[in-house]
Symmetry: D2
Subunit: 329 residues, 4 copies
Amino acid sequence: MSESGSVHVGVDIGGTKVLAAEVSPAGEVLRTAHRSTPGRRVELELVEDALTEAVTEVAAGRPVAGVGLAAAGFVDAAGERVMFAPHLPWRGEPTLSRLSERWGTRVALDNDANCAALAELELGAARGVDSALLITLGTGIGGAVVLDGRVVRGRNGMAGEFGHMQVVPGGLPCECGLTGCWEQYSSGNALVAFVRARVETEEYAGCALDELAAGDPLKITGPAVTAAAARGDALALAAYESVGSWLGVGMAGLVAAFDPELLVVGGGVSTAGDLLLGPARTALEASLVGRHHRDVPRIVTTAFGAEAGVVGASILARRLTSSPGRDQT
Amino acid sequence: MSESGSVHVGVDIGGTKVLAAEVSPAGEVLRTAHRSTPGRRVELELVEDALTEAVTEVAAGRPVAGVGLAAAGFVDAAGERVMFAPHLPWRGEPTLSRLSERWGTRVALDNDANCAALAELELGAARGVDSALLITLGTGIGGAVVLDGRVVRGRNGMAGEFGHMQVVPGGLPCECGLTGCWEQYSSGNALVAFVRARVETEEYAGCALDELAAGDPLKITGPAVTAAAARGDALALAAYESVGSWLGVGMAGLVAAFDPELLVVGGGVSTAGDLLLGPARTALEASLVGRHHRDVPRIVTTAFGAEAGVVGASILARRLTSSPGRDQT
Amino acid sequence: MSESGSVHVGVDIGGTKVLAAEVSPAGEVLRTAHRSTPGRRVELELVEDALTEAVTEVAAGRPVAGVGLAAAGFVDAAGERVMFAPHLPWRGEPTLSRLSERWGTRVALDNDANCAALAELELGAARGVDSALLITLGTGIGGAVVLDGRVVRGRNGMAGEFGHMQVVPGGLPCECGLTGCWEQYSSGNALVAFVRARVETEEYAGCALDELAAGDPLKITGPAVTAAAARGDALALAAYESVGSWLGVGMAGLVAAFDPELLVVGGGVSTAGDLLLGPARTALEASLVGRHHRDVPRIVTTAFGAEAGVVGASILARRLTSSPGRDQT
Amino acid sequence: MSESGSVHVGVDIGGTKVLAAEVSPAGEVLRTAHRSTPGRRVELELVEDALTEAVTEVAAGRPVAGVGLAAAGFVDAAGERVMFAPHLPWRGEPTLSRLSERWGTRVALDNDANCAALAELELGAARGVDSALLITLGTGIGGAVVLDGRVVRGRNGMAGEFGHMQVVPGGLPCECGLTGCWEQYSSGNALVAFVRARVETEEYAGCALDELAAGDPLKITGPAVTAAAARGDALALAAYESVGSWLGVGMAGLVAAFDPELLVVGGGVSTAGDLLLGPARTALEASLVGRHHRDVPRIVTTAFGAEAGVVGASILARRLTSSPGRDQT
């Protein structure tokens, strides 16, 4: 229980934006502050300044009982350092202790997918579920593992890195340096790449996205594809069919390995709902071993959407003061 | 604790053989009995008769305090039924209660890979390890998941079915009805298929395995390939290189998802040791996301080898009498 | 024009059988003789003896004006030697001159696919056509090229070796030592392999071919698959769908390269007619570049079927005496 | 023989530039005129105006004896119409007769790859060769077929469309509407795409091309990759290794089908010489059926380089007046 008058703050540090929030115990976002992510080539202080400003703005003069951080990157097993983040300068510094000292309060840290899973597990789509996988389709694929009602972090804090499982030998190159990674076939980037590669072909000449591109495929964005799909555009639907089918194929492998009760899909691409989940369900059914001898897990979308990370970070923050020691996620 | 003078029996029910054993608490196999597996087109009673004979032979007149069964097939989440087994007639009957009634003793049941993992975790290669994956290369691939020091069974009791994760879209057909399954590229069958397909080509004309085949590739067996590889035969080495590399590629995906501390490799193919594990380690390193920011898990072979299943079944049997209720694995 | 009373003999030297025949100028087979192919590990004389017997039997006491040989193997550019034949001992010996000397008559030689193409071009399905490709689906794929109304033999006499064009990178291993060859996906062997790999799966449990196999997939043969397909067996139809689709995909590449007027399909698999050609036509249409701007070539089956090779060999024989020098094919 | 004082003009109508030239009978380019290609969304007249201007400029007041046109697009079998050109408005209009009438002179037309092959065959790298394939690596792949010392045009004038043969099932999407086309793996576009996809990965951090991109992979161009490769840049070399290997793999299929004496490689990418041809030769050797029983064809670069099209067009123009009727290419 937090001290009277004090506030717990959750912070979601994404690739482009920092979102800090005060969240009620029931998961309601009460107050927020936004900053741009300073980028990966800047001084550490610049990032810490941005976080400090955001936390201060949310606190609004109240004492801060604890801060939870959700970071888009690799967080170590101890939850103390960001080992690598593609869009941030952190490379293994003792971020937790630096910020705790600077802010004079307790701080907790985990990666954004684990925080999102915590939010869904405690208060959202996975409430009451024993085992679940969270799969987030943003620019890439993020993931988290829930077993026995807890988020499993793994030996290095890196469990749930589903996006870089190879699904096509010698396939598309990935920014991670590998080839054929799942997120090259099923993610926001994959959705847009699918459309850009086909928008100027004869097959889709004159479709809405062709008009939008007007000769420059780079004008196509993810939200434009989603909007076009909602209006029935043939090329956008084909893109969702492809991305959704690959989602289901990858899910089938994960279900074979984990045998979970539930699959929770989040991220911007998931706002398309059944345009994405329909093909995913079909492919999951078709690709799952022993499908005649098991319950095929349900596929649902997240309850908290884009706020899942900050809500989970707030739960981390609350846990800092709810028990004698640091609770395990 | 078992009653004085009574015995716990472990039984490993494989595709071709039934092995029953008395095993010491330290994992030493003290006494065994063997039967052939009756096959999948026979009456249930015939299988139960074979099990009864094997248990009776091991008991040798002593009262039986409990029996643990390790079955090559899908065991339900409750550990009470074999839902499907490719080489056995079981299709969801209440096997546990039937045998418990027939034998007048307590009986426990799990699939063979989970039993093997239990043996390695309690007494073998994974002792003291918090998280590990067991990967067994027999005719196919079996697998089991250890997290938080326990074997994870999954929603349907089917966690660890790694062999049927798709690694090649539209790839080799699998007996499971899917295509491109991992075990088609990395298993005993894959090893033999690799050799059979190449033994008559000009490239390998006159190699030891070509002589052995003498015009009939079907004469090639797994042990013959392993023996030839040990003697440096070029074709056998190429087969191990292929199977080992695919092992490492698949492991990389599992490590991305689970982030375990240890990988334990068992099954007949693993007796080749570094012929298999060398290429696997190379491929794992090359294919693992974030390899510069993590501990790459060690790869070791099983401590119990072919006896891991029956040793694990014995541990299940012992647990039946070591606590008030049925313990969780 | 042959001398009065003398006979021209065509001989088709296949992997398992030798067929010699007297063929009328109109392509009618008048008289035949059969021998088994002696195999690849025998003395050359044994093969030459078999050919001599067959030719002698067909001649039936008449003088032999000329012999044409169609060989299943690589024939050199000059048409004088068999450089390699998988089922025969020939490895570049001066076969033509040896036989010509032994028989005291003129002899001509080409590979079996070129002979078959010659038969179809002169008297069969490609009569009056300027450009055509012959694609023969036997155990593998044979092929021949017709341009400007003539069979094109290529720099080494090896034009038309379509069967070993790679269609799947890192795909199925081929007896030729390469991987992913077209004939591994579209041929009699591919048809049988497709069925054998699936006949014991749950999906096809109880189908006619499963009954036929009775637990031993090696009992499945090509003719059995064709017969089952004709009766509507689901697995056999799936096999033809796969082999036919791959046929069309490969054809699309050949049509892009050659832009021929006609595609002639022969070999044992082609006796299934539209079961094979239907999926081939669909895949050709779907995979052909510029299909909206061209005539897609017709696909037909051979007129001479299994006799195309011996008919073409007879045409070669006749040409030996129809002009001052050796005519070009 | 042209009339005294008159001139033959060759015109190469490319995707971005129109090049008209007077070329000596020996292949020397004597005088040129350049225009921009007007684009595909313009009126036909605009294109014809540009061609007229360029021809007029080259003629420089002399009478025009004949014009040869090399067009980047599908030219019909009769050589009278451009059926489709990705960067031009032509869609089957009677271009030849329209221009012939407008210019009051004889006009010949073929696609640019066939014209280039004609130049190489008559005056360049393939002089004296009986059979050859021309493979041009520009933004895509162009191709042409020489057999019996003549350029083969095919049933629809479309022989040699090698770039759209499928080399990877379900592979990269192509602007032609198909997937897995060869030119997606081996062409100038493929070279640049390879680099753009990897330039920001950790593996190539700090390489010359990474510096050049400065965070924006779209800044990478083909000439920049070639320049970097010449200086030993690791990423540029990897790109040439990939594009060259795929070139060789595709060549192996074409050699299996055509069995030509020579392979001539042209286009901008070929200016890298052995950086490209080295990996191509290795892959061709490794992927060619019957390589122990044949002469593997030599691979050489074009003699005329970027001028091959206009030189070939000039040869077409000269042929218009060198014989009673229109000669065949």
